[in-house]
């Protein structure tokens, strides 16, 4: 685990008057992120577009997804639009600039077909996939242990039935901008001759050999992967671990987050129930964002505490109430009601659950309140 807990002292005028305020900050040795800059230049959506969604929103959802998987400092600007592509072509990606060390795409253009030959389903809520009744994940051992090679929704209904899922196509095209592109010199160097991507350390599943299109195009020759060269009606494909590893190896993204990105969650916990409720507001703990909470001071207290425990949850009775986080390894934030912590953009801490308990401090006394189990998420 790369994270550590630091306690930063801020002596602001207001808080200083109250004594000493501590602001918690989760610090990381590997705070870096992929940034996909999105530049929509328009074009008319196809007249037969169904579902109620729109391209910019779907593009944002797909770009967010990729950003949560490749946790390495890099920025790529993608200009995208609707345009006529003809034939059976659904989407088209062209690399327009690359560079740096390691070499990566820095700019590209993507066009989505609008000539009516592609019958798209535009999902207004693309991350929910409620139009598909069945979700399937498939694993395979490609030389480096079992890895996920398929992540798909099927049994479509409503507007998704019989139509190509635009979210799938958008994720696929963005995937080209992250490594798997025939114009990317890193792809040519990696897969041009032997038509595969060899996953090596420090990436997980090192030793895996991911086959690419024997015809030479920049696609995976894996029938269930997102980066296969085609999409079928009534199916939704999501980014697989094979897709992530292929792009990570080509573009040398050393830190990846495999699996479906984890959503930040907060679970209220109150042991035997003897403690009063203390937390009145809390935001999700998302990497790269600020986590904040407010503790209720209506009991007459003039100061509150938020106790973060890396151990626990636990339960033991004290004279101040029920202790719901474990000692030792605790960090305490003291402030008059409002507390915050900066969560670094570090994929290594995604999924970490931090037992958190509120307390208020006199008058008349120290009083323990309920707890939250805060799980750090990618979104």
């Amino acid at each position: 685990m790369k994270h550590s807990i630091l306690v930063a002292v801020r002596r602001g005028a207001k808080l200083f008057a109250a004594g000493c305020a501590l602001q918690l900050a989760l610090a990381s040795s590997a705070s870096a992120q992929l940034t996909i800059v999105r530049n929509f230049t328009g074009g008319a959506p196809p007249a037969n577009l169904a579902g109620g969604g729109n391209l910019p929103d779907i593009f944002n959802a797909a770009a967010d997804w990729w950003e949560r998987t490749l946790c390495t400092q890099h920025t790529v600007t993608i200009t995208f639009r609707w345009g006529a592509l003809g034939g059976f072509t659904l989407g088209s990606h062209s690399l327009t600039a690359q560079g740096g060390s390691p070499n990566r795409e820095t700019a590209g253009t993507i066009t989505f077909d609008n000539d009516g030959s592609s019958v798209f389903f535009a999902d207004p809520t693309p991350t929910e996939s409620s139009e598909y009744a069945v979700f399937v994940e498939l694993d395979d051992d490609l030389g480096g242990g079992l890895i996920n090679v398929g992540r798909l929704h099927r049994n479509a209904s409503g507007a998704a039935l019989g139509r190509i899922d635009l979210f799938t196509v958008v994720q696929h095209e963005i995937g080209h901008a992250l490594g798997l592109s025939s114009a990317n010199a890193s792809f040519v160097a990696e897969a041009g001759a032997d038509k595969d991507v060899d996953v090596v350390a420090p990436l997980p599943a090192a030793g895996s050999v991911l086959p690419t299109d024997p015809g030479g195009s920049a696609h995976l020759d894996m029938s269930r992967a997102l980066m296969k060269p085609s999409a079928s009606p009534s199916f939704r494909h999501l980014v697989t671990d094979a897709d992530i590893l292929a792009n990570a190896e080509i573009s040398k993204f050393d830190t990846v987050l495999l699996g479906i990105p984890i959503e930040a969650t907060t679970v209220v916990r109150n042991g035997t129930g003897v403690n009063p409720t203390g937390f009145v507001e809390v935001t999700p703990a998302v990497i790269g964002e600020n986590w904040s909470t407010t503790v209720d001071l209506s009991n007459g207290a003039n100061m509150s505490l938020v106790v973060l425990g890396l151990a626990g949850p636990t339960s033991s009775m004290t004279k101040w109430g029920e202790l719901l986080v474990a000692f030792p390894h605790l960090t305490v934030s003291i402030a008059p009601g409002a507390h915050s912590a900066a969560i670094p953009f570090d994929c290594a801490i995604v999924g970490l659950t931090i037992p958190t308990q509120a307390a208020t401090l006199g008058p008349p006394k120290l009083e323990l309140h309920n707890a939250l189990d805060v799980t750090v998420g990618a979104y």
Partner: protein, 128 residues
């Protein structure tokens, strides 16, 4: 000199004379066929240059640029008159999942007219 050898010498002289006439004609009034043959080779050379220039433009390392001479640039996919004696050439190395097309126009004297157009894209297509 034998009669046979003399005959060969005469035929050779006639051949040179014909070829010389052809050259003279080409210099004064080139036929489309003769000019086309010259332009094809010139177009292939220009296509490779255009492709390599594009690679440099999009950031390929120089050692990879000079080592790259795609096979499809040796085969003219389409050729059509473009007016005033000029010709447009298309080199198409596309497959189902990748578009690779170079389009350029040469004047009758082999001079490149305008910038060659490069279309290079990763394509996703509809499947079953």
């Amino acid at each position: 000199m034998s009669s046979s050898a003399l005959r060969k010498l005469v035929l050779a002289a006639m051949f040179v004379g014909v070829a010389g006439t052809g050259i003279a004609l080409a210099l004064t009034a080139p036929s489309a066929e003769t000019a086309g043959l010259d332009l094809d080779a010139e177009a292939r050379t220009r296509a490779v240059e255009a492709w390599q220039a594009h690679l440099r433009k999009i950031g390929w390392p120089e050692e990879m640029v000079v080592a790259t001479r795609p096979e499809f640039l040796q085969h003219i996919s389409d050729k059509a008159p473009a007016g005033a004696g000029s010709w447009s050439f298309v080199f198409d190395g596309s497959s189902t999942h990748e578009q690779r097309v170079v389009t350029l126009t040469l004047a009758s004297d082999g001079v490149l007219l305008g910038e060659p157009e490069i279309q290079w894209a990763d394509l996703m297509v509809a499947g079953e």
